[in-house]
């Protein structure tokens, strides 16, 4: 075990994947000499050369579209989108080509493309640098969507994503890039839990809090605070947003009967809606209270000085937990 930041773990994962398979190529803006604006590709161009670590022209549709062609030629492109808000010019190529080509060709053409996206807010950034577009991708059949929350998962799951024959949207929470954790660099990614499984990040018995990405930390903090008040929260880190590991969620909800789903993305038709609709379908008879959503608001991402009003913090999660417990909370007496 080695202690390292999530950023470093991702860098190591890329290095390992490129060493393991010489069909792995990296593409993106500023990923060469600069090592990417977050340094995730640091030193990789020096190590693997300009043909495998490719600084591309500034055009996201171009990057993803050419990655499709490289994949057709047998390569495994790993694309870096510089910031979450810059993925939209590539949306057409992702939705109409990357996601659909395997289905279109009756399985003859594989699309083993990994699209890495430095993701979400909380870092005081300018507009378009704090987006949470995951629901778009979760709703897009043909894609897998991964959201990591710690260095070990970052290290393992990025390698799993690259090795996967399906296209994977790989979401890296920006505000955790510098967060440290233990990473087992020697373990092989095929020995780890498969990419599609959720993880019980903390066991508890009163309320289940389902979340992913950087919100896992907030949820764990909330669980810690709640335990001081005698409330036992189970925290589930989804890890995979498509598919979602419902058996793991079911087991928890059937135990607690109460559930809060939290994410930073907007609420309307977000991932929490999906999780709650599915929980309701699957666990209706076990539910003591209505599942609760604690999410970002349905507004464009706000200017950074207001972002703390948008990203659910510990207090908002606890308010949601109170609601799930049927205790007094901010909505008590308020009409929905």
């Amino acid at each position: 075990m080695t202690t390292m930041t999530m950023g470093k773990a991702l860098n190591q994962a890329l290095r390992q994947a490129m060493t393991d398979d010489d069909k792995v190529v990296l593409m993106g803006e500023d990923i060469g000499p600069l090592g990417g604006v977050f340094r995730i590709t640091d030193a990789l161009q020096d190590e693997f050369g300009e043909r495998r670590v490719i600084d591309t022209p500034l055009a996201e549709s171009g990057i993803v579209g050419t990655a499709v062609g490289l994949a057709m030629r047998g390569y495994r492109p790993v694309v870096e989108i510089q910031f979450d808000g810059f993925v939209y010019p590539a949306f057409d190529q992702i939705v109409c080509q990357v996601a659909k080509l395997h289905y279109r060709t009756l399985g003859r053409v594989k699309m083993p493309i990994t699209i890495r996206i430095p993701w979400a807010g909380g870092v005081g950034a300018a507009e378009h640098h704090s987006e949470s577009p995951e629901a778009y991708f979760v709703h897009t059949a043909g894609l897998r969507v991964i959201a990591v929350s710690n260095p070990q998962d970052a290290y393992t799951m990025l390698q799993q994503a690259i090795a996967c024959d399906d296209p994977v949207i790989f979401l890296e929470p920006k505000r955790l890039y510098h967060a440290k954790g233990e990473v087992d660099l020697d373990a092989h990614h095929t020995d780890a839990a498969p990419m599609g499984l959720a993880r019980v990040a903390r066991e508890g018995s009163d309320v289940t809090v389902v979340t992913y990405g950087a919100q896992v930390k907030t949820a764990l903090d909330a669980a810690e605070a709640a335990s001081d008040e005698g409330v036992s929260i189970e925290v589930i880190d989804l890890r995979s947003l498509s598919p979602i590991d419902y058996p793991t969620i079911d087991a928890s909800v059937r135990k607690t009967g109460r559930v809060v789903v939290t994410h930073e993305a907007s609420r309307e038709a977000g991932v929490a809606a999906e999780v709650i609709a599915s929980i309701t379908e699957r666990c209706f008879d076990w539910l003591e209270t209505a599942p609760v959503r604690v999410t970002g608001h349905d507004i464009p991402y706000p200017p950074s000085k207001l972002e703390k009003q948008h990203i659910p913090d510990l207090d908002r999660i606890l308010d949601g937990v109170d609601r799930a417990l049927g205790r007094r909370n901010s909505m008590t007496g308020v009409e929905l």
Partner: protein, 372 residues
Amino acid sequence: MVYALNPSAEPATASTDISQVLTPDGVRVENVELDSYLESVTPQEVLALYRDMAIVRRIDKEGFSLQRQGQLGLWAPSLGQEAAQVGTARALRDSDFVFPSYRETGVIYVRGAEDRDFVGTWRGETNSTYDPYRINTATMQIITGAQTLHAVGYAMGITADNADDVAVTYFGDGASSQGDVNEAMIFASSFKAPVVFVCQNNQWAISEPVRVQSEFPIAGRAPAFGIPSMRVDGNDVLACLAAMRWATEHARNGHGPAFIEAVTYRMGPHTTSDDPTRYRDEAELDSWRQRDPLDRVEKYLRDLGVLTEAAEAEIAAEADRVGAAVREAALTMPNRAPMEVFDHAYATPHTGVDAERRAYAAYLAQFEGGAA
């Protein structure tokens, strides 16, 4: 430094400055740019090109009538574009890889498509028919221009493999307005990718004349991105063959991308759903009938004495055979089983779709006993 308008700034529809080797009257004319690429071409080879075009035209006719008879959901006619498609595609090696649009019946024919490959998708049985790796040709693309980037990426892969194949992409005059096509030229130029862009300027994007996209020759855009280009008579199969030989030679030898604008005409409707009388004059169509891509080769070959009655009969018979086979393929195409709707959504197991599949199977199972 002032850049004036493109030096050859004729309107995009003008026919001047378009390289030709065979006139509409079937006369072989000298062409300094193209002749060197045609030196080795024998009359029999020209006859073979003619045969290809005749068969492609026959397939097109069959597709059209199958649609009219309700056997296909849609058909996108290639009528009038046989020379542009056959001429360019015949310049390729099998190991080259082609990225066509929905209209390239002639291209996939040359690449080796089988009978059912012409109709399976239009019939709505599958979103694609042939295996791209069998004929080294991607599924015909519907999103205008998207395939041009795929070709560039594939070509970057060729370079990385140190191979000497080329990637080729076909697209229309309308598609040339898409951001993707421009980004494709930019990427191709930056990475010196061995890719050939073939723009079939057939004068129309559905109801929009090419001047909506460009008042100037589309071929004139490529050099601005650092890509040499050629504007050829797309109804002249020899000119198209020669231009493509020039382009592939350029790309194959490490000089990077090349661009061809084949000036041609869509003689049919955009698709079988379209009604061109709403937007274009019969007179325009007539004027292009005078420049039919088959007629001129027919005259030329007759004059040479190569298109004998026997040859003509053989071609007609083969065209009829292929036409009938395509029809047969359409009519006998098996319906896919309902549960196949789930197949290949993912390459590896996906618990979400797998659960849906089980649920839908259970749903369908109810009906087997006539229940529900």
